[in-house]
């Protein structure tokens, strides 16, 4: 850890404007589940599994690419306590995707729950269930599998048109055109062009080009993927699982097992982090198979090694950006070409790749010509999937490197170059209209963008002086600063939908049922805050229940920075409607028009002051006392955005680079964000702080390493280091006043924006420190030292 002794202006402790405007929203309400989680009350799937459940273990492929010739379960089945061994022959031959996305999914259906082929080390081969974990483990080792080992494709640069075809099997297909060409190892492809990029580049007096390679990254949510299943009283299949999207899970399992959806119930209990890693079906199909086969409850908690080797990573990408500009720094052309590695299956292949452009290119909306294109290719590595940042972080890393190179070329302050070219409130970008997530986009005017304010405050906090971005603090120790800006989105417009149901209860409190899934972010809390604010009650008057396909209304799930904006808007609509219903019912009771009823301080009064009734008393009246007029007062509302207002963030970092060892430390990371009204400023800040540290991990430490046979070398938390609390100096996060007119109480999203900038800002700081543009992530001491030596040799 590095201590920072540079003077810093005091934190802006002046409360946000929004805090003064609201009673519950924009206040730091503690998370509703916090105390119970700290005390370790049973809450996660593995805590809740029935004690008579069979333990499930998976037999996994030891080969990167192979065909299964035979599976002999005899020895395993002979072991006392073994209930079943299931193989691809026990699965319907239905191609699916494991990606929880819209319907139809932009991901190709190129995967079978179990298949005759295995396509990475760790791919599922067979499912074993036994009375104890020890027996299941032993039995899994006794399943004899004969493989025909095939030559794998491991380098994504060699995948396109490789003679080795990773998906030669018939029957797999895309759900709509996504450029799927399995014969060429292409999972998806896309291109778009606004104006004539080549012409603009040719005519640009100043041009730069950078190619950046960002690595795969592991989510490392502390809770491994876990599920248990059972058959309920009515013969239905119930799965309790650590999922980010219960409804997608139900739909995908229904397809995979050819079951009507009314036969399945999915419940999400508390889950121990997701970050996109639980936006897929990884464990649910296997417990379901065992329960359906045996009629017994079944449980499966992956080991950490399985999470590393056989769930999903971030997509590795190679991003080439070419910029053309005038001598004054005005951008004329941006060309971004991307090669993305989806691994063995195409989950989120097209969409993460498109987001590399769609959530970065609008940042610089002054360019007259913009082009984006490339391919997403298959390799025999573990699949890539959704991961916080979802392509934006990769695209931004390319774009912000190129912007800083342009600033160096022009000899201008990189901050000023960005200010000149960036998006401002009231403006738009053609990219919004053209690029959606797998489909066309939605045109959108930016109604809230406080990037200027974020930049100004960030400069102040870090002490930005463009003439002095590097200094030697001790022999061989350089302190340098760098910066980057970012945008994200708030849900997927006209695709993501969330719903909320609120029901008035005796005792005068409200049940809030939402399909939204709290991954630990605090979404149950902020959704309750929204309801409490609108209903004029306290937090304890809202009891939240979320994420149960039987008992809560539909929601696509927690991803794409959607919960606050999409699910939050549904809650606000529901609370508004319910308030109108309550007032209507009380007006009827008072014998006056609804407009003559005033609701304040949990009490209804007639405008003339002659009648009054408390919320508490009315709750008993409507449920117990009012005879023929008795009724449950409840409402369900849904919301889908017709836009996806981006949050913004300006980041400034000071690093210390040791030229002797090549070690780079983050001394101070400053991030100032516009998330609209933060429904809960503390929780919004923590979202950003946590995202920043994951981004710093990607920049400096985290790498998914393989042997030359495709075996993962970084499959423990010893060999895959995530940042500890001693690794990073200081992180300062501030939020600026902002109000998004289309969001609930002015809110946008906060979940992903934090992760986007660190790889860029740190790379730019290293460039400012030693004049070298590092292009291979992560920036380990070995890589930095090698670059320094190479530069010296030139």
């Amino acid at each position: 850890m590095r201590n920072d002794h540079s003077p810093t202006p005091p934190s802006a402790d002046t409360a946000l404007e929004a805090t003064g405007k609201f009673n519950v929203v924009a206040h730091d309400v503690p998370k509703v589940d916090g105390e119970g989680l700290v005390l370790g009350r049973p809450a996660y799937a593995d805590d809740l599994a029935p004690s008579n459940a069979l333990y499930v273990k998976l037999v996994r492929s030891p080969h990167a690419f192979a065909r299964i010739l035979s599976i002999d379960p005899v020895k395993a089945l002979a072991l006392p306590g073994v209930a079943c061994v299931l193989t691809w022959k026990d699965c319907p031959r239905i191609p699916i995707t494991r990606a929880g996305q819209g319907n139809p999914e932009p991901s190709p259906h190129d995967r079978f729950i179990l298949d005759e082929y295995v396509r990475y080390v760790g791919d599922e081969v067979a499912v074993v269930a036994a009375e104890s974990e020890a027996i299941a483990e032993k039995a899994a080792a006794l399943v004899k599998v004969e493989y025909q080992v095939l030559k794998p494709v491991l380098d994504f640069e060699e995948a396109l048109d490789n003679p080795v075809v990773i998906h030669p099997e018939p029957g797999i297909h895309e759900m709509f055109p996504i450029g799927f060409e399995p014969a060429r190892n292409i999972a998806a492809a896309y291109r778009m062009e606004i104006g004539d990029v080549e012409k603009e580049l040719a005519a640009s007096p100043v041009r730069v080009e950078t190619t950046i390679h960002t690595q795969a990254q592991q989510h490392v949510a502390l809770e491994p993927h876990t599920a248990f299943s059972y058959i309920d009283l009515h013969g239905r299949l119930v799965i309790v699982t650590s999922t980010q999207n219960p409804w997608h899970t139900r739909r995908l399992l229904g397809l995979a097992f050819q079951m009507p959806l009314h036969r399945i119930r999915i419940v999400k209990p508390r889950i121990g982090g997701g970050f996109g890693g639980k936006q897929h079906i990884h464990v649910e199909p296997y417990v379901a198979m065992v329960t359906m086969k045996t009629g017994r409850p079944a449980r499966l908690a992956l080991t950490r090694r399985e999470v590393f080797e056989a769930t999903f990573t971030r997509h590795e990408m190679r991003v080439t950006v070419r910029l053309g500009a005038n001598p004054d720094g005005m951008l004329r052309a941006i060309d971004m070409q991307v090669l993305s590695n989806t691994g063995a299956y195409g989950e989120h292949a097209l969409t993460t790749f498109m987001v590399a452009g769609s959530k970065t290119l609008p940042l610089y909306n002054k360019a007259v010509a913009v082009r984006f294109g490339g391919h997403v290719v298959y390799t025999n590595k573990v699949s890539a999937g959704a991961f916080r940042g979802y392509g934006a972080i990769q695209g931004l890393t390319g774009l912000e490197a190129a912007m800083d190179e342009l600033a160096h070329r022009l000899g201008v302050d990189p901050v000023e170059l960005r200010r000149k070219n960036m998006l401002h409130e009231g403006e738009t970008s053609e990219v919004f209209r053209i690029m959606g997530e797998g489909t066309e986009g939605i045109a959108m005017n930016i109604e809230s963008c406080k990037l200027e304010e974020c930049i100004a405050r960030g400069k102040e906090l870090i002490g930005w002086d463009p003439g002095h971005l590097v200094r030697e603090v001790a022999p061989g120790k350089l302190r340098a600063k760098g910066m980057a800006i970012a945008m994200q989105g708030s849900g997927i417009p006209l695709i993501d939908m969330g719903s909320a149901r609120i029901e008035f209860q005796d005792g005068g409190f409200f049940k809030l049922h939402v399909g939204a899934t709290d991954l630990g972010t605090g979404s149950d809390t902020i959704l309750a805050q929204i309801a409490a604010e609108e209903l004029g009650v306290d937090m304890e008057d809202i009891v939240v229940h979320s994420s149960d396909t039987d008992h809560t209304p539909f929601d696509v799930g927690a991803y794409a920075s959607s919960t606050t904006y999409v699910s939050g808007s549904a809650v606000l609509k529901a609370a508004r409607s319910l308030k109108a219903k309550l007032i209507g019912a009380v007006a009827d009771k008072f014998g006056v028009a609804p407009g003559d009823v005033i609701y304040k301080d949990k009490t209804f009064r007639t405008a003339d002051g002659t009648q009054s009734l408390s919320l508490d008393d009315f709750s008993y009246d409507t449920l117990y006392h009012d005879g023929a007029k008795m009724k449950t007062i409840e409402v369900t509302e849904s919301f889908t955005g017709d836009k996806s207002p981006p949050p913004y963030l300006a980041a400034f970092v000071e690093i210390e680079l040791d030229v002797e060892t090549g070690k780079v430390d983050v001394v101070h990371y400053v991030a100032v964000a516009d998330v609209g009204t933060p429904i809960n400023p503390n929780l919004a800040k923590i979202q950003i702080e946590g995202g920043l540290l994951q981004g710093i991990g990607l920049a400096l430490y985290e790498d998914v390493r393989y042997s030359d046979t495709g075996h993962m070398l970084s499959h423990t938390m010893m060999t895959y280091p995530i940042p500890s609390r001693e690794d990073v100096g200081r992180i300062t996060v501030e939020l600026v006043d902002s109000y998004e007119p289309s969001g609930p109480f002015g809110a946008k999203s906060a979940g992903e924006i934090g992760i986007d900038t660190p790889p860029s800002a740190i790379a730019n700081a290293i460039r400012n420190a030693v004049g070298i543009r590092l292009t291979e992530y992560p920036f380990t001491p070995e890589r930095v030292l090698a670059a320094l030596k190479a530069a010296k040799a030139q």
């Binding site: 503690p30 700290v38 593995d46 121990g272 982090g273 702080e689 938390m717 500890s724």
Partner: protein, 152 residues
């Protein structure tokens, strides 16, 4: 084999296999607050106190604990509730999976170090990883909690 654990002040005979780790025995015996996070002694989610000292129960053979005093966060529930107030006040509880082990280490630090500065706090807790919070909110919470303790 049969061993006797003293868990949160209660004597509990349990059956375990020779190579079984304490985490698994505790979870199987109903102590869900002991979490299985990494299996390799890296993340700290499985932290319990053995005879008062924090250990990583995923790397501690259950048989070693035979006859010893084991404390989970539930055994220090009153103090844990107080710390939880500070943690939740900062919004730093997040997904909560690391929280019982982390909180136990904080309570242990409070006993062991009289007036730790930030670097000492970070060092003492370095073995308790959190992927959600970025640690800053946890540090704010710990400092305020320790300040409140000192004021008492």
């Amino acid at each position: 084999m049969n061993i006797t654990l003293h868990i949160n002040g209660k004597e509990q005979p349990v059956e375990c296999r020779a190579g079984e780790m304490l985490t698994d025995v505790l979870r199987r015996s109903g102590y869900a607050e002991v979490k299985r996070g990494c299996d390799t002694g890296n993340c700290g989610a499985c932290t319990v106190l053995v005879d008062g000292a924090p250990v990583l129960s995923c790397s501690y053979l259950a048989v070693r604990a035979d006859g010893r005093e084991i404390t989970t966060i539930q055994g220090l529930a009153e103090e844990a509730k107080k710390f939880a107030e500070f943690l939740t006040a900062e919004g730093a509880d997040q997904c909560g999976f690391c929280a019982p082990g982390f909180a136990l280490t904080v309570l242990s630090m409070k006993e062991e170090l009289s007036d730790p500065d930030e670097a000492e706090i970070r060092h003492y807790l370095a073995g308790n990883l959190c992927r959600c919070s970025g640690y800053e909110g946890q540090i704010r919470a710990i400092k305020k909690y320790l300040e409140a303790k000192h004021a008492q």
